[in-house]
């Protein structure tokens, strides 16, 4: 292999956004290299056993892992896409060179355009003993259960009644694990009511305006104390309950994995609606560092359907900027933008729309 790998478009991250970006760019004729730190691309889709909503264009009705396999196949069948698995991007340098570690080797890549699609990581919340073994992020529980076929324990307290908390609770029940309850600090259930109803029908209580005050256990979790919150989100004395559980699962949101964007000197902004610090970018997903695009959760936490469309948009834009697909790219860009608006048209999408408006509000985006 030459000392520096030359490529038109480098994509960092092989989840729904990265894979979609890769095939979109390659379809227009660009040469693409995709880096994936895991031994197989697919990102978090590989552990999603539920059926997706939305429209047919975003594979509604298919289960997450089936969508993942489809995207992987699309890239595998495209000769313009090269995938390096077990390869972690390390840094993006001033001269445009990207370094990576792959199978024990230090690699250098010199791309013309970069698409960062690194996704998000799970948030933690503060309570005494929150570091005990037996306390997992919801994604970890999904990995153990749905990828490895191993249950995390016997009885679970789920924290967070957003879609992830609801879906993972249902998946725990499918795997034969008892869910003691789902608690949610806000007064309303954040996720889709269709998921919540399914769980309640199975007899699992969803307690809104409730929080965890502490976990306890000798070497690992043996129980949790929960309590009710008043309208000012303060614990109400005397409402404590002691739950004997050996697993506490945190589904309290995600934050964008933006280290590479910070390091590449993209202008960043804290936008709560997008779940944290995100790079400022224009509507074509190009950041303030010209030629560096973002797509998926790294540009604001949403879900896999919009990540796939954002990936496609970033792939098209990067390829188009290199002179590929001159006749079709503008139409494809418009289609992708229209699909994104459609996906974000519902009440759940309003937060994202507001966040993106805040993000593009103050200049800096390279349009």
């Amino acid at each position: 292999m030459p000392k520096v790998k030359e490529i038109e478009i480098l994509i960092i991250g092989g989840g729904p956004a990265g894979l979609s970006a890769a095939s979109a760019a390659a379809d227009l004729g660009a040469s693409v290299l995709l880096l994936e730190r895991d031994d197989k691309p697919g990102g978090q889709l590989v552990k999603q056993t539920h059926k997706f909503f939305g429209s047919k264009k975003q594979y509604a009705g298919d289960r997450g892992y089936q969508i993942g396999n489809l995207l992987i196949e699309q890239c595998a069948n495209n000769p313009k896409v090269e995938v390096w698995t077990e390869t972690t991007a390390l840094g993006i340098y001033e001269d445009g060179v990207v370094t990576a570690e792959g199978q024990g080797k230090h690699l250098k890549i010199n791309p013309e355009k970069i698409i960062v699609a690194t996704g998000a990581s799970e948030k933690m919340i503060a309570f005494p003993n929150n570091d005990l073994p037996g306390i997992y992020g919801a994604g970890a529980v999904q990995t153990l259960m749905n990828v490895h076929g191993i249950v995390p324990g016997q009885r679970v307290l789920m924290i967070g009644a957003g879609n992830i908390g609801l879906i993972v609770s249902y998946q725990l029940m499918q795997a034969g694990v008892e869910v003691a309850g789902i608690i949610e600090a806000s007064p309303t259930i954040g996720g889709y009511l269709v998921h919540a109803a399914k769980i309640r029908r199975a007899g699992v209580p969803i307690l809104t305006s409730h929080t965890i005050t502490e976990a306890y256990g000798q070497d690992s979790v043996e129980g949790a104390i929960i309590c009710k919150l008043d309208e000012k989100w303060q614990p109400i004395p005397g409402t404590e309950q002691d739950l004997k559980v050996d697993v506490i699962c945190l589904a309290v949101g995600l934050s964008p994995l933006t280290e590479l964007c910070f390091q590449a000197d993209c202008q960043m902004k804290y936008v709560p609606e997008l779940s944290g610090h995100v790079p400022i970018r224009n509507k074509y997903l190009e950041t303030t560092r010209l030629g560096l695009y973002v797509a998926g959760d790294v540009s604001g936490v949403e879900e896999a359907s919009s990540a796939m469309v954002e990936g496609r948009l970033a792939g098209i834009c990067a390829a188009y900027s290199l002179g590929h697909g001159k006749d079709v790219a503008p139409k494809l860009q418009a289609d992708a933008l229209a699909e994104l608006s459609e996906l974000r048209a519902g009440p759940a999408g309003q937060k994202t729309v507001k966040g993106i408006m805040k993000l593009m509000d103050k200049g800096g985006a390279a349009c």
Binding site: G134, G137, L144, G149, V151, G176, S220
Partner: protein
Amino acid sequence: MRITEHPILEFQRGEEVSFSFDGQELKGYEGETIAAALHAVGVRVLGHSQTMHRPRGLFCAIGNCSSCLMVVDGEPNVRICVEKLKSGMRVETQQGKGCLR
């Protein structure tokens, strides 16, 4: 504990192999992560924190959080949630920051 029946998924497991955990011989399946193999036999404490010596377990399972660092075949600071199990592997609890070989 391993899931034997699942309404949606079928689990493809590799060959059954032996490995050691702090000198104790255990069994797991080749190709699964070390963390998965340890979890399957009920090992949840993977190490202790450096200063307060509090027990540490699996948290993110995708190589982000470094809560599961162990010594594998003499190499310290291996994220066992993403390191695949191989026959005969020597997995040990790490003391402090670990020592370079």
